[in-house]
């Protein structure tokens, strides 16, 4: 497998051009284009059924395209021209094969030798805290620990009685057996799948809903890994419905709605284009009349703390001036850009219209 090392001149880039797909007469992806000229995180967002997964499948060469092209460093993107890691939205594992066998299989398919695969399994198992599901000895340790903890007794003062649990009791030690993959929780299966995606140390990482179904602790673990990958100069395409996560990581986005791209580009620029329209204002008296006079839209109000929607800096400044001129004491005046959530909802709404 070709190992695409990142070049310092940034020549390596991912270009998706005029991607098009239809099933029968129904167009499911209509002329989608975007580019990742440098490492970072690109978000592919959209409503359910907008064509995100189909687009990802076409980008990765899994699905035939009816039009368009996808290139990596000027060459058609496939697993021969690029080291790809993919975490699919609907995750799964072979239900009866051992996890080690499965991970090794994927490692071998991606051209990683057995020794390196085993080293990486060890590394990622530790990072993702899934060792006890992969290694029998770790499962045994955990079991022993649980047995040990189960035998701890406490005196009336809450102190542990130590004399009878210094060593495991003879005949009580159970043989540790690894859980079969289909017995793992959804979150743990997801972490194993993420491990599989990382086993070849990919240059292009495609993560479809990477944080869905994870508890806060595991979400933080995975976020940390994603941050590391960004820092390491990897190209990441992320699809998610969790807008705050996308905002946290993504520099560029495409929002799909009904198979078309309704918004596409750099997230900061998209926000800048839409201006600063969210005004959070806290005062010490009722200012409804001033808001009405300035033509500002009132979103909500609670104990003289107002959430307002302005058309831009000019309208916000006009309101601010009128308040100052009226001698109203201002506790907080915070004018901010649209959130990604708002951009998404607006874009989809406009798309409906």
């Amino acid at each position: 497998m070709l190992n695409c090392n990142l070049k310092e001149d940034g020549r390596m880039s991912l270009v998706v051009k005029n991607l098009y797909k239809k099933y029968g007469e129904k167009v499911v992806v209509d002329d989608i284009s975007f580019e990742m000229p440098k490492p970072g995180v690109y978000a592919l967002l959209g409503t359910n059924g907008a064509g995100k997964t189909t687009s990802i499948r076409m980008i990765l060469g899994m699905l035939d395209k009816d039009g368009g092209e996808v290139t990596w460093d000027g060459k058609p993107l496939n697993f021969d021209t690029c080291n790809i890691g993919y975490l699919a939205e609907e995750r799964g594992l072979y239900p009866k094969y051992t996890l080690v066998d499965q991970i090794r299989y994927f490692g071998e398919l991606r051209g990683v030798d057995r020794k390196t695969v085993d080293e990486r399994i060890k590394y990622w198992a530790e990072r993702l805290k899934v060792e006890e599901y992969i290694y029998p000895e770790k499962a045994a340790e955990l079991l022993e620990k649980q047995q040990y903890e189960g035998r701890v007794r406490y005196d009336e003062n809450g102190n542990a009685i130590s004399e009878d649990f210094s060593a495991p009791k003879k005949g009580r030690k159970k043989k540790a057996k690894l859980q079969s993959p289909d017995q793992l929780s959804k979150g743990n299966q997801q972490k194993i799948q993420f491990l599989i995606a990382m086993i070849s140390e990919p240059d292009l990482l495609v993560l479809d809903e990477p944080f869905s179904g994870l508890d806060p602790v595991n979400t933080d673990i995975l976020k940390e890994v994603v941050r590391e990958q960004i820092a390491a100069g990897k190209y990441i395409i992320m699809s998610s419905h969790q807008m705050e996560v996308v905002e946290e990581f993504c520099t560029d986005i495409t929002i799909l709605h009904r198979s078309k791209a309704v918004v596409s580009g750099n997230l900061n620029e998209i926000k800048k284009e839409r201006g600063r329209v969210n005004l959070s204002l806290k005062v010490e008296q009722d200012i409804s009349s001033y808001i009405k006079e300035a033509g500002v839209e009132l979103v909500s109000e609670k104990e003289f703390e107002y959430t307002l929607k302005v058309t831009g800096d000019e309208q916000a400044n006009k309101l601010l001036s009128s308040l100052i001129n009226a001698g109203i004491s201002i506790v907080k005046f915070d004018l901010s850009e649209m959130s990604l959530h708002e951009i998404f909802v607006n874009a989809v709404g406009e798309g409906e219209e």
């Binding site: 697993f79 009866k96 094969y97 299989y105």
Partner: protein, 458 residues
């Protein structure tokens, strides 16, 4: 789709193949099946032989009359027709024993008394018999003659022994009667059977005349055996391949796989991995079958001829020499590839367990029809049918090599048959290459062939 991408690429095939083989042999169920099948194949011949021998033995025991084991003191023969005049004419009663044998048990010549023909009634004869005496009375009747065996009311003689003695005397009486009238044994046989055997051609003569090395019965026997092997191979693999493909599709693992391996490599690796399991099983079974044959012959003195005649066993592959064996093995492999690929395609249309049952049913139906067609053709042993069954797939996968090794078709026809079989496999491969990936990613639950062809078109 990127037009430069080679959809027929087999990159990654060996890795999928190795993984499939490893996991198959790691699976306890498959390991157990392997051991059981090899044992069954190994012991099939001996078990059939023993079963048949036991049945035959019991039947023969009831038919055979052993004069050495009969406990009688005297046999009185009353022949009113005067054919049997001395004990020399009923030699079959004591043929296995010396005339002067003085052992108490068994029939010796001195125990046989040919009485002068009298009109004595059976009642008077019975009254004169002792406990270990037997009388056989031959009297004239409207249809010719009749032979009756008689014992005393309180006789110790077994009824089976009485029947045996009576039957032997009747046969000897017939023989002597024909001799006395200068009738040959063959003519007598014709009179009783109603068949004139003068114009009958022996099996060897017939086969030589028809340029056939193997009889119709053996042909059917080999056809039955070989098509059974192909059927077993296909049934064992169909379910596995469909389950395996569906499992990857259902679990969405296939999405991760398709960014690492070409679809054709994925399918063929799986099919060939499973094939190696089945072929290894067959090889072990055939070796086992031959070993058991060797042991039967060299340890128990049961010759291969007797052994083979008792029923089908898996030593069939060595009955036809190297070329025949290669033809048979090649056909098994081709059948496996064809049905394996079809199974993979049907598997890729499945989304649920019910779909898998339907898909397995479809493939099994095709293989079952082919199996029965091959068996029927073996029974018919007709020149045209033999050629057709050898040439038309999917029947040819089950029948072609047997028609060749038994001399029903020539080598060129076999080669044409293989070309057609391989062409069909190539056709399936082309359709698979075009449709397998799309079917794997499709949520459609329709398993009609039309879905596959539609998907192949894109």
């Amino acid at each position: 789709m990127n037009k430069r991408e080679n959809i027929y690429s087999l990159e990654g095939f060996s890795k999928v193949f190795k993984f499939t083989v490893r996991q198959t042999f790691k699976n306890k169920g498959y390991l157990l099946s392997f051991v059981i099948f090899v044992l069954v194949m190994t012991l099939m011949g001996p078990l059939q032989y023993l079963g048949q021998s036991a049945g035959q033995g019991a039947a023969e025991d009831s038919m055979n009359f052993n004069s050495a084991e009969v406990d009688v003191d005297n046999i009185y023969i009353y022949d009113q027709l005067g054919v049997i005049q001395s004990s020399d004419n009923v030699k079959d009663l004591y043929e296995s024993r010396g005339k002067d044998d003085d052992k108490e048990a068994g029939i010796t010549s001195d125990k046989i008394n040919v009485e002068e023909a009298t009109d004595a009634s059976e009642d008077s004869i019975i009254s004169g018999l002792k406990k270990k005496d037997v009388a056989v009375v031959i009297t004239a009747s409207e249809t010719g003659y009749k032979v009756n065996g008689i014992i005393a009311d309180d006789s110790d003689v077994e009824i089976d022994d009485l029947d045996g003695i009576t039957e032997v005397i009747k046969d000897d009486f017939d023989t002597k009667r024909f001799e006395d009238n200068d009738v040959k044994a063959e003519d007598a046989q014709m009179i009783f059977s109603g068949v004139n055997t003068d114009g009958v051609t022996s099996e060897t003569e017939y086969l030589s005349k028809e340029s056939k090395a193997i009889s119709g019965q053996k042909y059917m026997f080999y056809m039955l055996g070989f098509s059974m092997i192909v059927f077993i191979v296909v049934s064992m693999s169909t379910s596995y391949i469909i389950t395996s493909v569906t499992e990857e599709k259902q679990s969405k693992l296939v999405e991760s796989l398709l960014v690492s391996v070409r679809p054709m490599a994925l399918l063929l690796g799986k099919v060939c991995g499973m094939m190696s399991y089945v072929v290894l099983l067959l090889i072990c079974g055939v070796i086992g079958s031959n070993v058991s044959g060797y042991v039967m012959e060299n340890v128990f003195n049961i010759t291969e001829e007797k052994f083979s005649n008792s029923g089908f066993n898996f030593s069939i592959f060595k009955d036809f020499g190297v070329v025949g064996g290669v033809a048979l093995v090649l056909s098994v492999i081709l059948a496996f590839l064809a049905f394996g690929m079809i199974s993979g395609l049907f598997g890729s249309t499945c989304n649920k367990t019910e779909d898998m049952q339907n898909a397995t049913g479809n493939v099994m139906t095709i293989s079952m029809i082919s199996y029965f067609a091959a068996v029927a053709a073996g029974g018919m042993d007709n020149d045209i049918v033999n050629k057709l069954i050898a040439l038309i797939p999917p029947f040819s996968y089950f029948a072609a090599p047997v028609t060749y090794v038994t001399g029903r078709i020539s080598a060129p026809i076999l080669i044409i048959s293989y070309v057609i079989q391989i062409a069909l496999i190539v056709g399936i491969v082309v359709i698979s290459a075009k449709s397998y990936r799309n079917l794997l990613l499709s949520d459609s639950t329709t398993q009609k062939l039309k879905t596959i062809f539609k998907s192949a078109k894109g």
